[in-house]
Homo-oligomer: 322 residues x 2
Amino acid sequence: MSIFIARILIVAASVTHASASCAYGTHLSPRAEGAPIEVKTFGYTGAIGPLNWAALDGGSANVLCATGKNQSPINMVDGVFKTLTAADVKLQINDMPEGTEFENLGTTVEVVSKGGTLEVGGKTYDFKQFHFHLPSEHLDNGTSLAMEMHMVFQTPEKDIAVIGVFVDLDNGVAASAPRADSHLSAIVQLPPSSLATAAGTSSALLETVFSQVAKIASPGSVVETKPLVMSELVNILLAGSFQSYSGSLTTPPCSEGVMWLVSTQKLKIQTATFKKVRSVIGFNARYLQNTPGFNNLLAVGAQSAVAAKAAAAVPAAPAVKI
Amino acid sequence: MSIFIARILIVAASVTHASASCAYGTHLSPRAEGAPIEVKTFGYTGAIGPLNWAALDGGSANVLCATGKNQSPINMVDGVFKTLTAADVKLQINDMPEGTEFENLGTTVEVVSKGGTLEVGGKTYDFKQFHFHLPSEHLDNGTSLAMEMHMVFQTPEKDIAVIGVFVDLDNGVAASAPRADSHLSAIVQLPPSSLATAAGTSSALLETVFSQVAKIASPGSVVETKPLVMSELVNILLAGSFQSYSGSLTTPPCSEGVMWLVSTQKLKIQTATFKKVRSVIGFNARYLQNTPGFNNLLAVGAQSAVAAKAAAAVPAAPAVKI
C-alpha cells in the first residue's frame, strides 16, 4: 500500500484544517533537525488531488493552483525555455560525510540539505532540500521519465529556484553485466569519476539515499542517511546545461515566480531500486500545466465544459453508447 | 522526440477540424485491414490535452470529458470496485499465427484483433483491439505502474467492456541473471507455462509485439507483427481476478457506461523494451478522475477556483514570494 492511501485515511477527518500558510508546507524550508515532521494535508487523488488544491485551505492561499498562468510542471519543448550553460551558473553543495535526514512528508520523500549555494541571474540562493516525484512531473520533450528530483534553493528574501533532474531507469541487462553480483555497498563506493563518465551507470547518490527508503515507508518517519557525496551530483549537473523558465511550485500553494532550471543531465537508478521507491511514494505527480503565459488549464477546462454543455442542450448527451 | 510533439505540429493548424463522431476515433473499432490509419486530433499536453478535450470538436460530442461523473481512469482502491473471479468471466481470444497489424494512432500504439469474445454479466462482447498507455492510467491501490494495456471489447449493440492490465518492469538484475546473454528471440520462444508461473519473467506477447515498435515511430505508420500466441495472455488473466467498475473511455468522447475489468495479474516487460516503447509513445495518460459517482473534477476544480478568487478579493494573491 502506498503512503497516499494511508494519507487519505489520516486526512479524511481533517482536510478542512489544511494550512498552506507555512513555508514548510511548500517543501521549501527543511524543519529544524529533530523537530517533528509535519505530514502534508494535500494529496494526488480525488478531492484532495491537484485539480482541487485551490479549495483545500478554505481560503485563497492556494488560488494560484487554479488561476495562475505560469504554473509547473510543463512539457519541456523548444520555445518554452532558454538554455543556461554551466558557465551561467555557480553551484556549490556541501558534502554530508555524517549523513543527513531523509524523511517521509506523506506527499514525497525528502533529503534535508547541509548547506550549499546556487548563484544565477545575479542572485544567490541557499540549498534547502531535495525531494522526488514519481513519475516525472515535467515531460522531457514529450516523454515521461520514471522519476524527477527537485533540488530546492531559496534566497533570504524567499525567492525560489529549483533544479529539476530527470531520473531514468538503468538499462538492467546491459548496465548490470559488469556488476551482476555486486551489492549496493559496492556501487556506493564507485569513484565519482566513473559516475560522471559512464552513461549507463546508476547514480551513487540516489542508490545511497534510496537504500534506506523502506525505513521511511510511513508518513512522518525519518532516517539518517549514509554519507552523501554531493560533489558527484554537482559534477554531473555542470557537465550539461539547464533549460530555464519561470514557473511555480508544483505543490500547494503553487506560488509563481519560481526559477526553474531543468537539467539536460539525467540520473539513472536500477529498476529494483525504482520499485522500492515506488512502493513508498506510489504516485505524486501534478498533471501537466499549460504553456507559460497561457490561461490556467482549470479555467480553460471549465470554459470548455460550459460551452459543450450549452451545445448539448436537449436532448441530453449520450451516456452509455456511442 | 516523441510522437506527441510531432502530433502537435500536425494538429496545430487543424485542431478545429477534430471530429469525435467516429467510433474509430474512440479506439474502439479497428479500421478495415489495409485502410489508411486515421491519426488522432486530440493530445496529452497543453490546449489539446485532457483538461480541454470537451472543447476539441467545437460541439458537445466530448462534453462528458468535462461533466461526466463516472469517468476513468481512477485509483483502484477497495470500495470502488467489485471483484469478479475467473469463474464470472468467459474469455476467448484467437491466436494470430499469421500476425496482425500494429499501428501508431498518434495517441497510442494499437494491435488489431483477429477475433475473440468476452462473456460477462449476461453479455457477449467481441474483441476489437488492444493498445497501451504510458505511464499507467489507473493507479494500482495508489501506485503508478510503468504502462497499462487496454483490451477493448464491444457488443453488436455498441456496449463496451475493457480489460485493463498493468504492465510492470522486469526486475532487471535478478530476473535477467539466467538469460543475461539471451536475445529477444530466445525470450519470445519461452514456453507459455514458464510465463504463467515465473513471476519475474517478461511477457512473451509484449516482447513480441514491442520488438517492432521502432518501426511505427511515426503517427499513421503500421507494421505486421510476428505470430501472437494470445492464449498465453488469456491463461495469465484467468489465473487472477478482475476489479470491476462502471467508468468511461479514457479518451474523447469519454463515453460512460464502459465496463472496466482491471486485472489483478500484471504483465512484465524488460526495462530496455520499456524504453523503446517510451521513445515512441512519450506520454499518453489522462489525469486521475474522481471516485465514480462524484462530481467531475473539472467542475470541482472550477468551483474551487471561483471560491478561492472570491476569498482573495483585494489585495491580489501573492504572486512571487511566499
